[in-house]
């Protein structure tokens, strides 16, 4: 199952306009690739093209399999897709929603076990008989993730899987995706949260106005200066409790015309020990400049 996803010159045209310029990148098996960039950069367009939802040029291969040549059914057996809009149109019970993940597979006698396992993995088994539409946003996100896991895909494509979740659920969902990657799955996701990207992604693909800026490990790709140029606002990067943190600090005056100091990478090492009062960071002179 461990196969790399290779995109070669992937281009998307929408209404005669180039929505995504030729893009070549490899996503190794067992890794998470985060697609980041400002609104309108083409993140969802890229993900939809990979999912087979948008016509595109260029090659997309998984190992030796050319995904663009596959029938929708064969493609569905390899790719699990988590859309941004996870609305359910009918109040199906959670178990049935998760079972939809097996739709592309042949009828399997052990379907019940697979569904139970996926629900256990995402901690929704106790909700199995409840209508999925009556659940909270966090619970629904986990149900949809369980649906994708039930299909046992080689590639998971997720469009902002943590957008509507509280911090604890954001971490839980990211950890689950991390777990899937560890099991050999190739995960590609659109993200807005730079800190989560820095912490959980193995590779970050930065997009701007339909063009790829870079594809590199987070530490290399998510530099304060690059982010400042990309988003037009100032960032602070650092580590807290050994985890990377990237904060947009904004500076209305400088955002429109960044000064030389804006965007400088400022690393602040803060070690959080036992739970106690909130850590207050006093900006240093260089941070004020940012």
């Amino acid at each position: 199952m461990s196969q790399s996803l290779l995109l070669t010159g992937v281009t998307v045209l929408r209404q005669g306009r180039t929505a995504l310029h030729p893009l070549t990148v490899a996503c190794a098996a067992g890794t998470i690739t985060g697609i980041l960039g400002p609104n309108g950069a083409g993140k969802t367009t890229l993900l939809k093209a990979l999912a087979g939802l948008l016509p595109h040029r260029g090659g997309v291969t998984l190992g030796t399999t050319d995904l663009t040549a596959l029938s929708p059914g064969d493609r569905a057996r390899l790719i699990g897709y988590l859309p941004q809009d996870q609305r359910l149109h009918w109040p199906l019970p959670v178990r049935e929603v998760v079972r939809l993940g097996l739709l592309a597979r042949q009828h399997r006698p052990d379907a019940g076990t697979i569904v139970d396992r996926a629900m256990t993995a995402t901690d929704v088994r106790t909700l199995a008989d409840r209508p999925a539409t009556a659940l909270s946003g966090g619970e629904q996100a986990r149900v949809h993730l369980a649906r994708v896991l039930a299909g046992d895909p080689a590639v998971i494509l997720a469009d902002e899987p943590v957008a509507a979740l509280d911090p604890a659920h954001q971490l839980a969902v990211m950890a689950l995706l991390r777990q899937q990657a560890a099991a050999g799955c190739t995960v590609v996701m659109v993200l807005h949260d730079l800190t989560l990207a820095a912490r959980f992604c193995d590779q970050v693909l930065l997009l701007d106005r339909g063009r790829m800026i870079t594809a590199a490990p987070p530490a290399e790709a998510l530099t304060a200066s690059r982010l400042t140029r990309l988003y037009g606002t100032c960032f602070v990067t650092g580590t807290v409790a050994g985890q990377p943190v990237i904060l947009p600090v904004g500076n209305p005056d400088q955002a429109s015309s960044p000064s030389p100091s804006c965007g400088r990478m400022v690393t602040t090492e803060i070690s959080a020990s036992a739970p106690g009062p909130a850590v207050t960071v006093t900006p240093s002179s260089s941070m004020r400049a940012v």
Binding site: K48, A51, G52, L53, S71, P72, G73, D74, R75, A76, R77, I79, G80, Y81, P83, D85, R87, L88, H89, W90, P91, L92, P93, E96, V97, L100, G101, L103, A104, P131, R147
Partner: protein, 329 residues
């Protein structure tokens, strides 16, 4: 409720309703009816049973099946509990076809002219609808349906306004109101193949309809070919409704009410709802037709009037109950 239990209960209800329908009317002893059913006994009894009552029951079952299944399929396809067969404009176009035949007095030349013309109307509307909805998305189905429906209704009104004589006008009105009276086995034979083909197209598409619960994008990534699914369900519904309207006129509210009533009993699963909804539609139209025959009115009521008279307030009651339940703490 288990699907099997629900289907069994609906089938049982349908059998009982059909059997009662066959026996209701001028009193015939059960023994005579049985003899007539076996092709023996008094030829008049045979005539009553096989030429008058049986076609009526058969048509009620066929038309109800088409409306119930068509409603459930369209609601699943468009993911909207308010969708119904009338929405796609095929019933209105079939009605227009029949009205044109009546306008030109073709019924006097050939008795089957209104049915043939109605079928042509349904066929043309279906072809147009399928061309317009080839891409496979909800909005184009709804918009094309509304446009087709409005055009057909406007042309029907025009034909009625310019009706050559009051007799033709009354024929048109009665035809449009929907009835199963004075139909023959020939009518059933006209509608049956269309309804059978439509049913086959729809009942073999449960995976796609279930996947659409997750929306069009996700359904596509689950391996569903949406354009093919839309063609299949819209085409199947159009064939069934065209056949049903051709022989019975337009009977409203069945396609809306029946899926709505049965949905909670099938776990809100759009695929599991298909067969029960077809049987429920058949049962409802059969029961409504029985009611119009039993009601002591000076002139027999139209079955379409009864389904709307029962259906609309019942539907309102359901909505009211849901609102009350949601409003209560």
């Amino acid at each position: 409720m288990q699907d099997r239990t629900l289907i069994f209960v609906l089938l049982l209800g349908l059998l009982v309703c059909g059997a009662v329908s066959l026996t209701v009317g001028s009193p015939l002893p059960a023994a005579d009816l049985l003899l007539a059913a076996m092709g023996e006994g008094d030829p008049r009894h045979r005539l009553i049973l096989l030429e008058i009552r049986l076609p009526r029951v058969l048509l009620a079952v066929l038309v109800g099946w088409a409306l119930g299944l068509g409603g459930a399929a369209l609601q699943a396809l468009l993911r909207n509990p308010l969708a119904e067969p009338g929405l796609i404009g095929v019933s209105a176009s079939a009605g227009l076809g029949a009205v044109i035949a009546l306008y030109f007095g073709l019924a006097g030349v050939w008795a089957l002219a209104p049915a043939a013309s109605s079928l042509t109307g349904a066929g043309l509307a279906t072809a147009l609808l399928l061309t317009l909805t080839r891409r496979g998305d909800t909005l184009s189905v709804i918009l094309s349906g509304i446009a087709l429906s409005s055009l057909a209704v406007a042309l029907t009104s025009l034909a009625m306004a310019l009706a050559p004589n009051p007799y033709a006008l009354s024929e048109m009105v009665l035809w449009l109101m929907g009835s199963l009276k004075d139909r023959s086995l020939h009518d059933a034979a006209t509608a049956a193949p269309l309804i059978a083909c439509g049913s086959l197209l729809i009942l073999t598409a449960p995976r796609g309809l279930r996947a659409l619960t997750l929306g069009e994008d996700t359904a596509t990534t689950l391996g569903i070919r949406l354009p093919a699914l839309y063609l299949r369900v819209v085409g199947g519904t159009a064939a069934m409704i065209g056949g049903a309207v051709t022989v019975a006129g337009s009977i409203g509210f069945v396609g809306l009410l029946v899926p709505h009533l049965l949905r909670p009993l099938t776990g809100h699963d759009p695929a599991r709802l298909l067969l029960p909804s077809a049987l429920g539609g058949a049962l409802l139209v059969c029961a409504a037709d029985l009611a119009v025959r039993l009601l002591p009115t000076p002139q027999e009521l139209m079955v379409g009037v009864i389904t709307a008279l029962i259906g609309a307030p019942f539907f309102l009651l359901l909505l009211l109950r849901r609102h009350l339940r949601e409003a209560l703490p």
